[in-house]
Symmetry: C2
Subunit: 346 residues, 2 copies
């Protein structure tokens, strides 16, 4: 039990001074033990560690941070239209950070705000962040990355394609997943395949679209202009785009959506248009969000291991005694999961 003052006072935590006094050494030596300095005699180290355990002493991160000029906080800076994305990354990050002594500070931003850079400078400088994680699409902001380099803060960008700084990048190879989807649909005999892409400002959308077209090309197909719709990664935009597609003379027999939200919109539009999935139209999504298996029929989708990605980003940035080494792989592979929303054409 911690010592409690008799005078109805608060519990007083032990400080480094208490430990030093009890161990009969200077506080600097205790500090050395805390920071695993190699220049401490084994015997001294043991004594100090024993006292630390007895007293339940844990160093104060604020004081440590003040002296180190660096906090023990990791920032997660996000701006994603899809909360599921954020929460998955967050979960993974927290997995990697559990028990490390670091804490996760979450920070939503508007990446189009003119104050973004100023706000981020203030955030990072003020909190003296230990590291920063940038999921897509914030990760695509080169100015933000440049700012973080200027501020000398370690960071990991999570994105769909390798950029020019591989050590600070976690790549999900989005194009490959889209190519899998394209081949899958082609192999089922589809030729009239439509695409509903995301906002052209999203790198993920660009990469997925590119991969999709490459996949089609492998099977001798190409994306017809009238089958290429642009959505906004939202449910509603999926509904609207699908309605346009279904109204075409030569209705597509398959629709590939660059995220599950829009694909869900295609389900709705199909119902409204009286089309059956997959008999009349096959649907493929991207992300493999929880909703994919909750729809009827369960949706074929490209799985993106979002939680793993968060965890790997955390492992790249945060030292953790519970784990031997930092992550060395800086990439993950998307994987098509075939379910009931895709079937043979006709």
């Amino acid at each position: 039990m911690a010592a409690r003052d008799p005078g109805s006072d608060k519990i007083k935590r032990h400080t480094i001074n208490d430990v030093a006094r009890l161990a009969g050494v200077s506080k600097k030596t205790v500090s050395r033990v805390i920071n695993e300095s190699p220049f401490v005699k084994e015997e001294t180290r043991k004594t100090v560690l024993a006292i630390m355990r007895e007293t339940g002493y844990v160093p104060d991160p604020q004081a440590r941070g003040l002296a180190f000029r660096r906090s023990f906080l990791v920032g997660l800076i996000y701006d994603n239209p899809n909360p599921q994305h954020t929460i998955s990354h967050q979960q993974g990050l927290l997995d990697a950070m559990a028990g490390s002594g670091f804490e996760l500070v979450v920070r939503p931003v508007d990446r189009h705000s003119p104050r973004l850079l100023a706000d981020m400078r203030d955030f990072v400088e003020r909190q003296k962040l230990f590291a920063v994680v940038l999921p897509s699409p914030v990760s695509e902001d080169e100015k933000l990355a440049a700012l973080l380099r200027e501020l000398d803060v370690p960071y990991v960008r999570i994105g769909s394609v390798a950029l020019d700084e591989p050590d600070r990048m976690l790549v999900s190879h989005d194009g490959r997943g889209a190519a899998q989807a394209a081949r899958h649909l082609a192999d089922l005999g589809h030729t009239r395949i439509a695409l509903i892409s995301g906002p052209p400002t999203f790198r993920s959308s660009i990469e997925r679209k590119k991969g999709f077209e490459e996949g089609l090309a492998e099977r001798g197909l190409r994306l017809a202009p009238e089958y290429a719709k642009i959505g906004a990664y939202t449910y509603e935009s999926g509904v609207n785009a699908a309605h346009e597609l279904f109204a075409l003379e030569a209705r597509p027999t398959a629709v590939f959506c660059l995220n599950d939200e829009m694909a869900t919109g295609v389900y709705t539009a199909a119902r409204e248009a009286g089309l059956r999935i997959p008999e009349d139209v096959s649907v493929v999504g991207y992300d493999d969000a929880p909703i994919a298996v909750r729809l009827w029929p369960p949706m074929t989708s490209v799985r993106l291991p979002l939680r793993d990605m968060g965890r790997m980003a955390g492992e790249m940035l945060v030292p953790n005694a519970l784990r031997e080494k930092r992550a060395d792989a800086h990439e993950v592979q998307p994987q098509l999961v075939v379910r009931g929303s895709t079937g043979k054409v006709g």
Copy 2:
């Protein structure tokens, strides 16, 4: 622009000492200005504020926290099977905290872990949290609340029913929403109404069930034992419970689920059993999660303003210059949203 050493060195932030020197006052007076002490001459205050603006000075939260023995971090401690819940609360909290100078630290826990209390003590003490937010079901842990009182940390518990400390409680009156659902179904002519509840350890489930039965009673109905199923707040448990209900001789014509996840499971089970919604069976969920409007037909559900609840919790705890006063209402009202999954019986 901040000053940059010529020697290719880092940017050096201004400290309270710089401001004091430039303003020709002691650092203590600058400190007084920062903390809005009333004992500073107006003229002095203006001078100091001007210098602070010129230099772009912002106080270091770590140093301040060290001296105050309290950080500027708010903890969100959660353990919810439904990530959507967490992310919504988190969003609202961040809404309330934006621009306040406080940061949000998120902390998932396993509320059944034997180490929970020890971990929480360590977390709160070590980080010297300014305040803590406890969403349901963590909010139902009396020992945790007692610990926080012992540690003298302000907190808000978000829960379905008023507890004995109204000032630290944000109530969502879950029973009332469930009663609305019951009346709605009864008014549509349903009498064979089934209930799929959540884990009996969840207060929200208890309250919703109670409210539901009260609502039925108002219409002269009661919940038949064979229609009362216990789920786990998960999709799969909803599927299973619904299958059991649909296999009954006297199949229920309506199913009320105590969350949307399980209600989504009922959709699946209905499809598998060849039942149409709402013609053969009406379905009502609880939470009004995003998925409710993405299902076909769109689901009738009881809306819980999760984001508002997070925001209100934040307003109860964090002073914010951007807002005049703290929240005074400590409750929100659930609201039934009628959509296509409920219809007249027969």
